[in-house]
Symmetry: C2
Subunit: 374 residues, 2 copies
């Protein structure tokens, strides 16, 4: 069985389309991974996530280590069995959320000490412990433990943070490889840091390549720098990483962020936006996002998006969904989330087809013109 | 097309099984109607409700008249189209919830004045207005507007309240019949009152029969009197109503309430228990209800109920559902609700089969022995 294999079928400018092959299934790229934070893509059954076209989902190490704990999930047969999702799962390292959600987090060379946001209990997460947790979960794509450099950062801060993340990348590699059974069927991705400094990104990429990973993530973006600054980094960062390995832009993003990042050579994405927006009343459409709480939808008999092929748009009006959301009905969150996840997967399918046809520029320009993006 | 037709296929003691035929579909009896208060059976898509075996659902006039309003639903093509449920819908009259949820409600011979629980706005609901609202919604089975006599009530209170409900029953009949288009394809049910007084129940039944309805509900029960007192009324009340018309016990109930009521001749039920319990962590099983919040389920790999045929029990463990509920995940409410609605529909299917086979006593006794009911 193939452990991890990436084949690029076509390129168009810097963009590529291909397939990642893993034991639990193929992942067509560019791919968007719905976020299943606490062992569930919120408000969706696994079969509904799969029906949207999603071939891989993301699980959050930080949340799962605290509840129900990685050890409990391991005793119950691993995350796939626990939540009923049979295809690949990528888990993050916990680093980003320890620092954004954990109270009183303290960073040392060893790792990060933090208090649980659930009950205040103290925890230490190190590169070695992160690898152990992701192994216990049964993750298919394991992320190296790193520090997501805050934005803005001075050059000195960014360099110091990046260099520590690179030392942690080596410890992650070593920790991952020591879990022989898991390493023999899973993949490990390194994470490039360096903030918005091109030379620091180059140093980070070189160090990661020297260690050697199955795929390479671009970290430290989508943290408040804005789309223009992010795209500036993406004009050079993907080219610093191996062309024959998947490139994963973590935590991105809005539909127009994704289109621009694909044009710049990114293969994988994850973001809470489609699911979280679904619960707060924002629906994505080809003409841009709309807020279903708005009274102008109260008697609108059109579907959320007339061009959408999702099950929600086949049978539900904006008027009905407006009513559900105004009434705080669970079904409102269910339908909105399902539509948004489908919207993202349809966007990815469109991007893949456009790259394969050598028509990405036209696709991207048409998308932006309709979506109202820059 | 048949407007409303009830055929009894078999009887077993006082119990009956048969089919109600209506333009929007057949309803096998005894039937349980999931409650879709605000134009949604909470946390379930219409197709999921249908897949459970449900052939009719209930909508709440009080909630819908306030939001999104009956007039808006009418402009949008009626409740069936609005919520995407194509089979029959029974609507209550609004009377019960006006008095339990509406603030400052004031009862006169004309009707009830109340303040909305949503925004405090003043409303008047009369028998005529209730018929108009249910017509605007497009209800298939319209309930007469009545007063649900509070419990306990003195004989004088119960008689006075019942007699007013009977005057309102005539006004409901007249109001319903004046909506010619709707009356030609819908059914109207009267509601027997009289609290726990057998002679008052007899007077109420006689008055309703004199007016003439398609079906007859037993109201004023499941309001705190307890199962023993309820069964005492059900020992005589169904026999006071026409044998060839459906008998509907409003707002009931727990699984063992339903079994005992079917044994006493009831054909239709509705209750929020399966859906509401699903959202608060209580699952129904053949061995009685269990609370999934309980820590003893944290590593329980069994399904909610090993004898259940529902989609939830096919693929989800108690451990996973425990985790979802402890984490306040929407999927927890979705799965628990789906299971509970299936549990009720499977119970009704079992009761129908047992009556058809002339084995209801054995079925009911076996059920109670396993369920731990009296």
């Amino acid at each position: 069985m193939t452990r991890f294999d990436f084949n690029i079928h076509a390129t168009d400018g810097a963009a590529r389309t291909g397939v990642i092959r893993m034991q639990r299934g193929d992942i067509r790229t560019p791919a968007f991974m719905p976020v299943g934070t606490a062992a569930t893509v919120k408000a969706m059954r696994p079969a509904e996530v799969r029906a949207s076209g999603a071939e891989i989902i993301l699980g959050n190490t930080y949340h799962l280590m605290l509840r129900p704990t990685a050890e409990r999930i391991a005793r119950l047969g691993g995350l796939h069995k626990f939540m009923g999702w049979e295809r690949p799962i990528l888990t993050d390292s916990g680093g980003f959320q320890v620092m954004s959600l954990g109270a009183l987090s303290k960073l040392t060379e060893d790792g990060v000490t933090f208090a649980s946001h659930l009950d205040g209990s103290k925890h230490l997460i190190t590169p070695e412990r992160s690898m152990e947790i992701q192994r216990l979960l049964g993750s298919d794509i394991v992320m190296a433990f790193d520090e997501c450099t805050p934005y803005p950062a001075t050059r000195v801060q960014a360099e110091s943070s990046m260099l520590r993340s690179m030392r942690w990348a080596q410890r992650s590699r070593d920790g991952f490889d020591s879990g022989i059974d898991h390493a023999s069927r899973s993949a490990l991705f390194g994470i490039q840091q360096g903030s918005t400094f091109e030379d620091l990104r180059a140093v980070s990429a070189a160090k990661l390549i020297d260690i050697g990973f199955d795929g390479y993530a671009i970290g430290g973006l989508a943290v408040g720098e804005g789309q223009a600054a992010m795209f500036s980094v993406l004009d050079y960062a993907p080219g610093q990483l191996p062309a024959d390995r998947p490139r994963y832009l973590m935590g991105v993003g809005k539909p127009d962020d994704i289109v621009g990042a694909v044009e710049r050579g990114i293969d994988m994405f994850d973001c809470v936006l489609p699911t979280r927006s679904g619960r707060t009343g924002q629906a994505f459409t080809h003409a841009g996002p709309i807020n279903l709480r708005n009274a102008r939808f109260a008697e609108d008999e059109a579907p959320l998006d007339a061009t959408c092929a999702c099950p929600v748009c086949k049978t539900n009006s904006r008027a009905y969904i407006h009513h559900l959301i105004k009434s705080s009905e669970i079904l409102g969150a269910m339908l909105m989330t399902e539509h948004n996840v489908w919207f993202y997967q349809q966007l990815m399918a469109g991007l893949r087809a456009a790259i394969a046809a050598g028509e990405l520029t036209k696709f991207a320009n048409d998308f932006r013109a309709q979506y109202g993006a820059r």
